[in-house]
Each structure stands twice: as C-alpha cells, then as structure tokens.
C-alpha cells in the first residue's frame, strides 16, 4: 500500500520532470515584468515569481535537477560504499582496521563543513554538487556493507569457496554481492531522499547549481522575504521537494519491510 502511494507520487514527479517543459508555454528563464508575483491560476499553474517567471516551468526544471543529482549521488555513494565496505570485511585484519579508521576519521568531520568548503573551492555546477554530496555520503553504505559482509564471511559457502581457492574478486562477485542485494537496494532507496534534501539545502545556501538554472532550494531561499505576501512562491517548490523525498522514502520502507518479512519467514 505504501509502495503504491510512493510509486504514484514518483510517477507524478516523473511526469512533471519529463513533460512539464513541453506542456508549459513558458520558458524557465523568460522574464515577464507585467506578470510579477501572480498567484496560482489557470494561466500560471503554480503562479509566478518576482521577475514574472512561470513557477510551473521552473519547478519542473528544478525538480529534474534535484532528482537527477539525488539519484546519481546516491548511486555513486552506494557504489563506493559497497566496494569499500565489502573489501574491508573480506580483506580483514590490518587492512580492515586501516580502511575503517579512514571512515571513522571522515565521519568525525562535520559533513556541513566538508561539503560547504568543498563546494566553495570547486567551480559551481552539477558535477561539483554531486561530488560534494558523495564525499560524506558513502560512509553509511560502507559501514552497513562491512557489517553485513562480516556476517557473510563466516557462512559455510564463503568459507568453502575460499578453501577451494576462489580469489577476492570471485568471492566478491559470485558470493558476497548476490547475497547483499537486499541491503544494497534498501540503502540505495533510502539514500536518494537524503541526497535530494542535501542538494536543496546546498542550493538554499546559494552553493548549488548556479542561475539561470532553476533549483528548488534556491527558489525557496529567494522567496523567504516574500513569505507574508506571496506564500505560494516558497511553499510550492518546498512541497515538491517533500513529495519527491516522500515517494522514495515510502518505496524504500515498503521494500525494507518486505525483505524483513521474508527473512523472518526463512529463519
């Protein structure tokens, strides 16, 4: 049930992202000073901002950016995390301690400092936002993956595979990864909303993808002073961030519960 709602919300988001610019007669950066700060109407479905730009088109474009950055950053997070965590657990002992110490040190650095300083140093753009999100984002996945693989390493099939001489990569790809699909997919699904949130937070700080691109966080920040008079300018973009996050959260949770039930019935 939760997943159905989540999928419907996700479908709405994707519809807006894919066809929003096509069905809207306006361009996301077309300024129309005769139509400033208009409330939502049939003319402008979500209203207009202080330069008369159509919010529907801008939200569609900003949401595309948010979803793209969120999904790509989460995917890279998981990729690095899985490889790092699984390697640490499989290689064991010294290397394990070393690799996990790296993670502990990185985790002890507040992520806000890391991301903000990195973003200011790098040229603004989609790639640097993704890079800044990934720098601190992969830690969770790596920790989860390591603790999961540690439980796998003592399983008979991994031990026997190693006994007959299977190498690191064979154990990793044939035995460890197929048995970690559940934890990887769950974490991936639950990392995406976090990445979406962080992206909007960064563009709220003014560190996101630079204008003229519309980004939802920046739209919120620009409309903050206009809140008493034109609340839709802030609430509509912020609500779309929520909807996107909620969609992924709902799907991820349902997926997690389903896997949990299956594990319960197995044991």
């Amino acid at each position: 049930m939760k997943a159905v709602v989540g999928l419907i919300l996700l479908a709405i988001c994707f519809f807006l992202v894919c066809f929003g610019n096509l069905i809207s007669p306006y361009s996301y950066d077309a300024i129309d000073l005769m139509a400033r700060n208009e409330p939502p109407s049939w003319q402008h479905l979500f209203g207009t901002d202080d330069l008369g730009r159509d919010l529907f088109t801008r939200v569609a474009q900003g949401l595309r950016l948010s979803l793209f950055i969120g999904c790509v950053a989460a995917a890279i997070d998981c990729l690095i995390g899985v490889v790092w965590g699984a390697s640490a657990a499989l290689l064991g002992n010294r290397i394990d301690t070393l690799m996990m110490s790296c993670i502990d040190i990185l985790a002890a650095i507040p992520y806000s400092i890391l991301t903000i300083v990195l973003l200011v140093v790098m040229d603004p753009g989609i790639i640097s936002v993704i890079a800044a999100l990934v720098v601190s984002g992969w830690i969770t996945m790596a920790r989860l993956m390591r603790s999961h693989v540690l439980t796998l390493v003592s399983k008979e099939y991994v031990i026997s595979a190693r006994l007959v001489g299977a190498g690191f990569f064979r154990v990793l790809f044939r035995h460890v990864l197929p048995n970690s699909v559940e934890i990887i997919t769950t974490t991936l699904l639950l990392t995406i909303p976090q990445a979406i949130f962080l992206e909007s937070f960064l563009s709220f700080l003014g560190l996101g993808v630079p204008p003229p691109f519309a980004s939802l966080g920046r739209m919120v920040q620009e409309s903050l002073s206009a809140l008493p008079y034109f609340p839709w300018r802030l609430l509509i973009p912020a609500a779309w961030i929520s909807i996107a996050m909620l969609a992924f959260n709902l799907i991820g949770e349902q997926w997690y519960e389903k896997l949990e039930c299956r594990n319960d019935s197995l044991t």
Partner: protein, 308 residues
C-alpha cells in the same frame, strides 16, 4: 574496552588534525581573499592589509602562524569584522544556538519517545506513515509553514527575532519535529522487533501487563540505537542550524560559518570548523558510551561493527 577507548581518542585526534589541514589548505585554494570585495581599495592599502594578515607570506609561514594560534587557543581578530575577536563572535552566538538546540533536543526526545511508546501500546502502523511524512519534510518547509501559519496568518507567536520565550516556540518546534519523528520511528521499529523476541513472549506468558513488558523490558533493549543517534544529533542541533536561524532571524552560530566561508575570513573559518568537529566528536563519544552503559550487548556493534 580501554583499548577501544584509546583507539577512539586516537581517531578523534587524527580527525581533529585532519579538519585543520583540510580547512587550512582548501580555503587557501579559494579564489580571492577577505579584502578583495571591498570596493575602491587603493593598491597600497590592499597590500598593506594583506601584509598585516600575513596573506603575502608563504603557506608554511601561515601554517605555523595558525598552529601557534591553536596551541594558544586564541584566534585573534576576524579579518572581515576587525572590531571583534573570534572568541567574542563565538561567545556571543554559540550560547544562543546551544540554548535553542538544547530546548529543541528535549522537545524532540519527549515527542519521539512518547509517541513511539504510545504507538507501540496501540500497535498501530499508521505511526510509521505519519513519521515518514514528517521526516520527508525539509526543515525550510517546516520553518516557513510554521512561520506562515502560526505567526503571519493566525498571529499566535512573534514572526522572528530573538529574546522572549514566545519567540523561541516556533524555532524550537521547527528544529525538533524532524529529529523527533526520526527517533520515534527508530524506536518504534526496534520496539516492535523486541516484542517479538522470546523473552518478551515469556514475560507476557508470565502475566505481565503490556505496560510492564514495554517499560521494564523492551524499552531498555530497544533504546540504544536511539541514544547512538542522539550524539550526532546533539552536535548538529547545538551548533546552530543555518536554515532555522535564517528563517527566524536568530543571531546564532549557524550563520557565521557560511558567512565566514563566503567572505574568506580565514581565522573564523578555521576556528568554527575546529569547534564544530570538537563538539561533534565529543557528543558521538558520549552517546556511544551511554548506549553501551544502558545495553552492554551494544558493544558488538560498537567494537567490531557487527550488528547485534
């Protein structure tokens, strides 16, 4: 245990050094400096200012200068606001953020644990749906919504600024609601799992009431992840939230870090970064120790990274 503590302290020290070098070298890669923005500054005065702040020295000299500052614990004056020393800036803003954060933390803990216990007693999964919705709301949406509804539309509370208790209600609620919901769902999921354990069935068959099972047995076992989560949360909340401070115009520490990075105020950046990481590391260590004290089984997760 002692070995683990020593290792943790070593890692904290290395992370601390890491933060210092990271901020020091990264911010010196930043284009521009603190005085470039000021308009119509004569070449001579600009060079004079750079010389005064040792910005024209080689990096190694500046590095030793900052290392000296850290050892003395005194960061001198801000480059952008030379009327203030760094310690004055921090001492003026940190208590506000910390007090706000402390109130928000209390509200979040009360809300989260209270609602999770109630939901467990009623055994209702609607709780999961509601908390998911709340967790999915970014803090600026919550803040703006609260401000719009309670301050502008209905005028129950002041819109913004800092001073009286009425002005605290909205920011505290804004800060507390998402962590509260997150904690609540964490605890609820764990409680539900604990109640399925054999010991819970056993005490149930012994005839204990639902309340006794919940409070005397399940809660104690279920709350260690919540306590472990409280550590980073406390650090994050107590050092100030940029978004909340911006929405409600609160003169806290959260805005200073972003401001200092934007204006290339090197001593202030380094001081705040070190302070942040010190607070974060202390809170995480304390919360891990507390979780260990409450539930010794947690040490498997803590010492070896293996789930209990």
């Amino acid at each position: 245990m002692i070995g683990w503590l020593c290792r943790r302290l070593m890692i904290m020290l290395m992370a601390f050094v890491g933060v210092f070098f990271l901020t020091f070298f990264l911010i010196h890669f930043l284009p521009g400096d603190a005085f470039l923005n000021e308009q119509s500054l004569p070449e001579a005065s600009y060079n004079e200012l750079r010389h005064h702040w040792q910005l024209d020295e080689p990096l190694s000299v500046q590095l030793s200068h900052y290392l000296g500052l850290i050892v003395q614990g005194d960061f001198g004056r801000s480059m952008v606001y030379p009327d203030w020393t760094i310690s004055e800036i921090i001492l003026n803003s940190l208590p506000i953020s910390a007090f706000l954060g402390f109130c928000a933390l209390c509200v979040a803990v009360l809300l989260g644990i209270g609602t999770a216990l109630l939901a467990t007693l009623w055994r209702h999964d609607l709780y999961l749906v509601i908390t998911t919705c709340i967790v999915s709301m970014p803090v600026f949406l919550v803040g703006a919504l609260f401000q719009y509804l309670f301050a502008i539309e209905w005028e129950w509370f002041p819109v913004a600024r800092w001073g009286s208790w009425q002005q605290m209600v909205l920011p505290v609620m804004t800060l507390a609601i998402a962590p509260g919901a997150f904690m609540g769902r964490l605890l609820y999921v764990r409680l539900r799992a604990e109640l399925k354990e054999p010991y819970a069935r056993f005490v149930e068959s012994k005839g204990l009431s639902d309340y006794a099972i919940l409070f005397r047995h399940a809660f104690r076992n279920a709350c260690s992840p919540v306590i472990a989560y409280l550590g980073p949360l406390t650090a994050q909340i107590a050092t100030g939230s940029f978004v909340v401070e911006k929405i409600f115009a609160i003169p806290g520490l959260g805005q200073w870090f972003v401001l200092s990075v934007m204006s290339r105020d090197y001593p202030l950046i380094i001081a705040i970064a070190l302070l942040y990481s010190l607070i974060l590391m202390t809170c995480v260590l304390l919360s891990d120790l507390a979780a260990l004290w409450i539930n010794p089984r947690y040490r498997h997760a803590l010492f070896r990274g293996v789930p209990t």
